[in-house]
């Protein structure tokens, strides 16, 4: 187990084009994560769309890939140039990797035997892990005959048998598992994390997987880490509009607006906003050119719709209903006002007639150039 620290790590894949420029242009980087750290014993999820650099970051952590810039430290030791085996990392891949010709037992024993462990010790460890993963019934079977989820458990088991692994990395491990087994496997992973206190790093593009698995979620896009936080933080305070869009289903509503001293204006609709927040937003705008964008973000879950223009003494915004979709537990209304469309998650179907939208100020976030503005600066 180890604390894994990144210092100014960036990676660029060798391009096949014959560009002769030696300067590393920001746009060409597949990954640029700056300084950050995986704490010892944490359960992390790396979340982002396909091609955002998650797997690259994972492979740099495990040492399968050497970063083109920066350094990686395990417990303060520089391991940037160390091999995967030397770093003592375990990695579970998207597709189960097993040694076809070996039995399940030999598969699990393989990493231990490669490291020259004595045979009685090997069989003790293998027995323990097989029991934990519920593989003991198939220990003497050929690994190739097993189902995909059992094969994936073997891949995981080969990581777990080594007692001193620094971290276990998962690269979208549930891709080939069917939904029912997915749930079981994920629970197993959580159990293992609680039990063994290992650092787990889990790459996925599925937000529900990430949010249920991890204590800390890192959202990535275009090779950058946009935000790190608990699932709740990501939901409540997305640091970047991309995070707002990506987390939640549907994602956050973003409405471009003009910023005033104590309100924002969307065409001719005025939405009141905390003066301190507006002040910070204006300060930031002042440092940017005039193409800078301002928008507010609000989760569909926090919007309220009613036929009453004055709900609890607060004036609502008159909206027109564009469409209504039915889901099992809720309804999704798309409404518009002043040229802006916004989605509202509601339990009751809206009444016919005039509709008024309540935007709670405490749940409204302000974004300048897609980046969250904090009231405290």
């Amino acid at each position: 187990m180890a604390e894994i620290l990144f210092k100014q790590v960036a990676h660029r894949y060798k391009s096949t084009s014959t560009s002769k420029t030696n300067t590393v242009a920001e746009q060409e980087l597949a990954l640029s994560v700056g300084d950050f750290c995986w704490q010892d014993g944490g359960a992390y999820a790396l979340l982002g769309p396909s091609g955002c650099g998650k797997s690259t970051l994972l492979n740099i952590t495990s040492g399968l890939l050497a970063p083109s810039q920066g350094e990686v430290f395990f417990d303060g030791v520089n391991v940037t140039n160390q091999s995967t085996a030397a770093r003592n990392i375990a990695q579970v891949f998207q597709f189960p990797v097993i040694y076809d010709t070996m039995t399940v037992r030999n598969n699990l024993a393989f990493p231990l035997r490669n490291r020259g462990m004595k045979e009685p010790e090997v069989s003790r460890r293998v027995g323990e892990i097989a029991e934990m993963l519920e593989l003991d019934a198939v220990l003497n079977k050929k690994a190739r005959g097993l189902s995909a989820d059992q094969k994936q458990l073997i891949s995981l088991g080969r990581g777990l048998v080594r007692k001193d692994v620094s971290a276990i990395l998962f690269d979208e491990p549930l891709t080939v598992i069917d939904p029912h087994q997915k749930f079981k496997l994920r629970r197993k992973l959580k159990e293992i994390h609680r039990h063994l206190k290992l650092t787990l790093i889990y790459v996925t593009h599925d937000q529900s997987e990430a949010l249920t698995f991890a204590d800390q979620v890192l959202v990535m896009n275009k090779g950058k880490i946009l935000q790190q936080g608990t699932p709740e933080q990501l939901f409540e305070n997305p640091a970047h509009s991309f995070v707002g869009h990506f987390i939640g289903s549907p994602g956050m509503n973003f409405l471009s607006c003009d910023l005033g001293n104590d309100a924002v204006r969307i065409a001719d609709t005025v939405i009141p906003m905390d003066a301190q927040l507006c002040h910070q937003g204006l300060l930031q705008l002042a440092t940017l050119d005039k193409n800078a964008t301002t928008s507010i973000g609000i989760r569909p879950e926090y919007l309220q719709m009613s036929g009453d223009p004055q709900l609890n003494g607060k004036a609502g915004i008159a909206v027109t209903l564009e469409s209504l979709e039915n889901y099992d537990a809720y309804q999704m209304a798309t409404v518009s006002f002043s040229g802006a469309t916004i989605r509202v998650k509601t339990r009751q179907p809206p009444e016919s007639g005039a509709l008024y939208l309540q935007i709670p100020e405490s749940k409204t976030r302000l974004y300048v150039n897609d980046i969250l503005v904090n009231a405290n600066g």
Binding site: S62, S83, A90, Q94, F95, Y99, T101, N114, R158, G159
Partner: protein, 288 residues
Amino acid sequence: MDKIKNNKAWFLVLPVVLLVAFSAIIPLMTVVNYSVQDIFGPDNKIFVGTEWFVFVLQDERLHSALARQFIFSFSVLAIEVPLGIIIAMCMPKKGVWVSVCLVLLALPLLVPFNVVGTIWQIFGRADIGLGGWALNALGVDYNYAQNAGDAWLTVLVMDVWHWTSLIVLLCYAGLLSIPEVYYQAARIDGASAWAVFRYIQLPKLSSVLVIGVLLRFMDSFMIYAEPFVLTGGGPGNATTFLSQYLTTMAVGQFDLGPAAAFSLIYFLIILLFSWLFYTAITHFSGSQ
């Protein structure tokens, strides 16, 4: 479920049956016909039953030809398969050299059998052949026309030169199809290069190797043109393999009866061994 009793579908198989009949069964039956008769002329033939089979099976020269054939075929496999795997593993996986390697390797495969024989026949000569001359210059007493061992080795080297590429190309394709994650997983598990070969590459190659071994066994078992061009089966009987012996019997001496009986036995031997190989290899890789 009740099956509908209708045998009309058999008519659809008829064209294939006819085709196979004309291409295989009828010629084969002609051979069977010859093998049970002693033929002196068009109107002068005697039914002899299994006499020719007994004669052929007891023939000393046939026994030695068969033994030579087996030694040759197994030597071919023992050299070409490991060598093919090694070359395939040494080949570059990408870049311009891939095409260069592939073209160079494919060249021998395109050369006709008797041309291969001619090339080596000249190449091995001590007076005008570069190979033979060089060996003699180095002090090796090499002369395939007089020395039985030299002739046998020359045929073996010829076959290795001609056909190792086939194994290389099959293995190369097999190696390329192994996903990169297997190698990554092996690195994570701390596997040695040997373990990677033994537990990842070899198992993944087993299916192409079955094909390769079968093809090379059958082909080498039927070798004819190369020893024929080189020494005509000599010196002595050193390179008289089964087909050579058969040809001498059928065309040289016009012993059609024994030759036909021998052809059938030859055919059955190849069939039997191919089947044995196939079952052994699939069973072996299945139970591993």
